[in-house]
Symmetry: C2
Subunit: 495 residues, 2 copies
């Protein structure tokens, strides 16, 4: 071995040491990093990744290899399998092919509308991650048709490597020009200041590696500098909502009569009939593979639990789940706030009932100051985008706000306090929240105002009378499912 | 509606209220509950589950419907997909068909040896859960062939229900007698005091529901009583190890010379050659679909990270993962301690590298008193069982203990303390652990003694010289893989 090093080798060595130090710093600064490798078959993505991670402590990164979605994954929103893999703060996720492959797949199926809609989803997804502090580094490895042919041929020559070449790779070679056009278009549409594409001529593998290492080092350095001296973000007076969202008018809670009449005898009869109807509809949902998302928010002691129980009682236990949402766990708090909800979405044909939701972002997190105000102001739009994505996927989204007035809450709190078997339901925190009644009311009104979209409208449930509230919830769920499935009430009666 | 209630209805009502109260109590007492429904097709499992959960708060339970394992699940140990679903303390998991269906599937494939081995796995799995405080309630719903035929026929008659009858159900009807024999055998083999089968004649659906409700209520009551007045478990003087495990002799750490010579120049040459060899072997592992589990434990600052890095550097990033194991998260701490490891097992053909492991149970948890001593004493055998299960699945298991002596540790701690870019690596806790050097040494010797099985032996790495340690780790990994794959060194040289 030659112990003398040329200047270039020296600088390579320096670069490697630098990357190793940078990884420690991003861990300390708790910056989450996403690095994506896309490009033609045989363009050397694997090799580039290998040479990059050599410089990192393997405990701090994960490499994800993207393949065709499994059958299970196909039953979820297409972005879900990627969203669930976003790194925790301070960690690095490296994607060997990524969400962009999901676009290519649609393109190959000649499903251009879906391909383009996915590009829009991607821009939304990456922007939301950026806004939350994620650093996204995207590489595209480019080779010519001639080079690709040469490389595939070489792989096929040896038994040790031939298994790596798939039918699809050969098909792609044949369609090189067309694919190339599509790639260029895709890169153009998804190149944004905070998630730039690094387009690399991948003919010379050594150059690729050098370019990748340099780019990662530069980006991490800039990210650390920015984290250490963060710009002071302006807090807008009101949230920015994309004009494409059609917001429906909504009443202020205080203008509603929260006490709706319903006698117990009538309630029993109605409840039974509604539960029977919902039970039958659940079968239809299952067969039509419609995903249903039902979310509950409301004042403390407003009766969310009771309504969920009556709803669940009508459903086939194999086709629904109830997701209780409490304070986030450390895993959850160290990622984008929508992460834990992505992970609990229903499969198509299933129903997910959320007991508290992503709206915690603009309620408790806003009021208690857990989240900076400028991020809260971004949340309304982010949530609309999230729900629109679910809607476009085909989901029925039903959002309930269970509303009681201040006197009714006091009665219920005292009842809980005074009834031994109910005492577990009431905590100090409930009383503390109660002191913030007015600020909560303002925040709820604003939440409804800014997220009352036509595809995911709010349903305010007057809940001073628990029985009336439960019946109203069930009625709304049933009507919405029928509308979604195109079932007319008339037909229903004929059955 | 008739408002008068018969005594039976009254007692049904009482039972329902009781169950609701019991659920609250098990939440408060943090008791995890598993309820299993098995039985013939059309025996009414779904209905029984529905009537049971009506009495529970839907936020406190989850129903899992067991189907054929997905392709992804088939690449993991067969119990994994169930192990990952065990409930957190205070929650109820209800299985509509369960791990027992995995046994039936093997039986139908006429794979009797595998079916019987799975029954043994089940007994191990359920016992380990029991010993950890899990309550397991198992129902078997029995119907006659005549009754089954009648029910399937009825389901087939209506368009609304015919889709529920699958080809398999009709095939099962045809083979009723044979299946019945197998079921009876299965029940007998897996009926144990702490996980009894409740065999229910399921002809009368009302009776089934009554029986299920009663049994669950009785079992929960007993569990709560026991939790409130726990028996004082005797702490054995030494662990019980199943005699079937062949424990290999192992030296005490203190008898070893932890300083092995290796010069840097020689190290460089060796490392390069070993990494090249491992790289090639990784391809073979992938093609032969062998799962590989490599675990690292060792003294603080013994160089686990450095060895992992050199190992990882030789591997294709798409085929391995490094799992850093720290203090358990709340989700992890509220379940069986092996849960978080089940969830991180490699798929077949992949390599999982654990940086710290399940052995924390008999090291830090033992020493710091996080786990009661009688549970620690059970852990050695539990871990052997866990590893044997992985071995039987086909995994290669490599366990490393990285050993340095007390002086060497001091040198490394001081070096970390005095080098700015290494300071993050050393914490107060490291110094506190160091004070417990002797007790750690005793515990490590015992750990190795009781878990040094022939299928998953320990490899003690003398690590005072980091370079020698890394080379030894790589050499052992390579030799073990070759042995597992049946690759002779001779053949290798001919290549």
């Amino acid at each position: 071995m030659n112990n003398e090093q040329t200047p270039i080798e020296n600088s390579k060595k320096e670069l490697e040491t630098k990357l190793s130090v940078l990884q420690q710093k991003i861990t300390q600064e708790k910056i989450p990093i996403i690095i994506i490798f896309e490009g033609f078959s045989a363009s050397g993505k694997g090799g580039a990744i290998s040479s990059l991670i050599l410089n990192f402590d393997p405990r701090g990164f994960t490499v994800y290899s993207t393949r065709k979605p499994t059958k299970e994954e196909q039953r979820l929103p297409w972005l879900e399998r990627f969203a669930e893999k976003i790194p925790a703060k301070g960690r690095i996720a490296i994607f060997d092919r990524s969400w962009y492959s999901g676009v290519m797949r649609q393109y190959f199926k000649e499903n251009m509308a879906e391909a383009i809609s996915r590009l829009e989803d991607i821009n939304m997804f990456e922007r939301q991650l950026n806004d939350d502090g994620y650093i996204i580094i995207k590489f595209f490895l480019d080779i010519s048709k001639k080079e690709q042919k040469k490389r595939l041929k070489k792989l096929l020559e040896s038994e040790d490597t031939s298994w790596r070449v798939q039918k699809r790779d050969l098909k792609n070679l044949k369609n090189y020009e067309e694919i190339n056009d599509f790639y260029k278009n895709m890169l153009k549409r998804t190149d944004r200041p905070n998630a730039k594409w690094h387009f690399i001529d991948a003919k010379d593998k050594k150059e690729v590696r050098q370019k990748v290492l340099e780019t990662v080092a530069e980006t991490l350095e800039a990210a650390i500098a920015q984290k250490q001296n963060p710009p002071q973000p302006a807090v807008p007076e009101k949230p920015f909502i994309n004009v494409d969202f059609k917001l429906l008018p909504a009443p202020k809670i205080s203008t509603l009569d929260l006490t709706q009449p319903l006698e117990r005898e009538e309630y029993k009869v109605k409840l039974k009939a509604l539960q029977k109807e919902l039970k039958d509809l659940h079968n239809v949902i299952y067969r039509h593979k419609v995903p249903v998302i039902i979310t509950f928010e409301g004042n403390d002691a407003a009766g969310k639990g009771g309504s969920i129980k009556r709803l669940a009682a009508a459903l086939d236990p194999r086709g629904y789940s109830v997701i209780p949402v409490g304070a986030p766990t450390p895993d959850e708090i160290s990622r984008h706030y929508l992460w834990r909800f992505y992970r609990n979405l229903p499969k198509d044909g299933h129903i997910a009932i959320f007991d508290r939701t992503w709206y915690g972002r603009v309620l408790v997190e806003r009021i208690e100051g857990f989240t900076p105000q400028y991020r809260v102001m971004q949340a309304y739009n982010e949530i609309n985008e999230f729900e629109e994505m679910l809607h476009n996927w085909g989901a029925l989204i039903l959002k309930f706000w269970m509303a009681i007035d201040k006197d009714e809450q006091l009665r219920r709190f005292e009842d809980r306090q005074n009834t031994p078997e109910k005492q577990w339901k009431i905590t100090e925190e409930d009383w503390r929240n109660r002191e913030k009644w007015d600020i909560y009311e303002t925040c709820v009104d604003e939440m409804i105002k800014y997220t009352n979209t036509d595809f995911a409208p709010w349903h305010i449930i007057e809940s001073n009378n628990k029985l009336a509230a439960r019946v109203k919830v069930l009625t709304i769920v049933i009507d919405a499912i029928k509308k979604k499935l195109g079932i007319e009430d008339k037909e229903d009666e004929e059955e």
